[in-house]
């Protein structure tokens, strides 16, 4: 049996979340938080991270902030147009298949979530790197414009981040340590 080592990055994130949830800076509370975080990060060996590093690639923090700002912007625009759609009562639902250019599960999950939140579309199912998307309005060219829209708005940011991780730094607080690059 090899010796289990805990991941300090996960430990620090857990302590930060403990402090954010309790907002109590007395000594016993901090000690309890440290103990609980240590136990959790010890127990999650093999599930969330491995000897080589994290199993899941997490995007960098600045990219996440930029992405969520753009997401909130898009949600506002989409809801505004949806109000007009409710008033005019027009809809023609159809199903489109979209093929993404990544195979990373986390990025596919983020993209699927943001598809659900933005202009008139909702993700139904996904397999490999294809997404089954339900769209409320029929654009007449079998979903080509929807696919272009998604690729321009969301996938470009996340893919730009990938190059950053591989090329520049492996030691940022939210980047993944080396050993499991994109294949």
């Amino acid at each position: 049996m090899y010796k289990k080592k805990i991941s300090y990055r996960l430990f620090i994130v857990l302590v930060i979340f403990w402090i954010m949830f309790t907002l109590d800076f007395s000594m016993w509370n901090l000690i309890a938080g440290v103990i609980v975080s240590y136990i959790i990060s010890r127990l999650s060996f093999g599930i969330y991270y491995d000897i080589k590093g994290f199993k899941i690639k997490i995007p960098r923090f600045t990219v996440l902030i930029q992405y969520s700002l753009r997401l909130i912007c898009e949600i506002y625009k989409a809801s505004f147009f949806h109000i007009f759609r409710i008033i005019k009562k027009e809809y023609a639902p159809m199903i489109v298949e979209i093929e993404l250019s990544t195979t990373d599960p986390l990025i596919i999950t983020i993209i699927a979530n943001s598809i659900t939140l933005t202009p008139g579309t909702i993700t139904i199912d996904s397999y490999d790197n294809k997404l089954l998307v339900l769209s409320i309005e029929n654009d007449g060219e079998f979903g080509k414009s929807i696919e272009r829209n998604i690729k321009d708005k969301f996938e470009s940011i996340l893919l730009r981040k990938d190059e950053n991780i591989v090329s520049t730094d492996n030691y940022g607080p939210y980047s993944c340590s080396n050993g499991n690059n994109l294949n």
Partner: protein, 97 residues
Amino acid sequence: MIYKILLIISWIYVIFGVIGIFRFNNMYARLLTGSKIDTAASITIIAALIIRAGISQFSIKLLLILLFLMVTNPISNHVLARSAYLNGIEVKKEGKG
């Protein structure tokens, strides 16, 4: 002052979200209405409360609630849509469907 304007915008979203549930005849259209307008209303209201509270303990917790809502709301809508689609509700069906 700013939070009052944001709250007034959120009233519009809440009212149209309720109207949209009753106005469409197709089930998927209702699902889309629920997923979108409701999330926009939640974001608006919580942003208004954050601006009202300023920087304090209160706004950190409100930020956590906002993060939580933005992660879980689309997931529950996926699960609903997927369950309806796999059970064979037709997409193009008009009327009561």
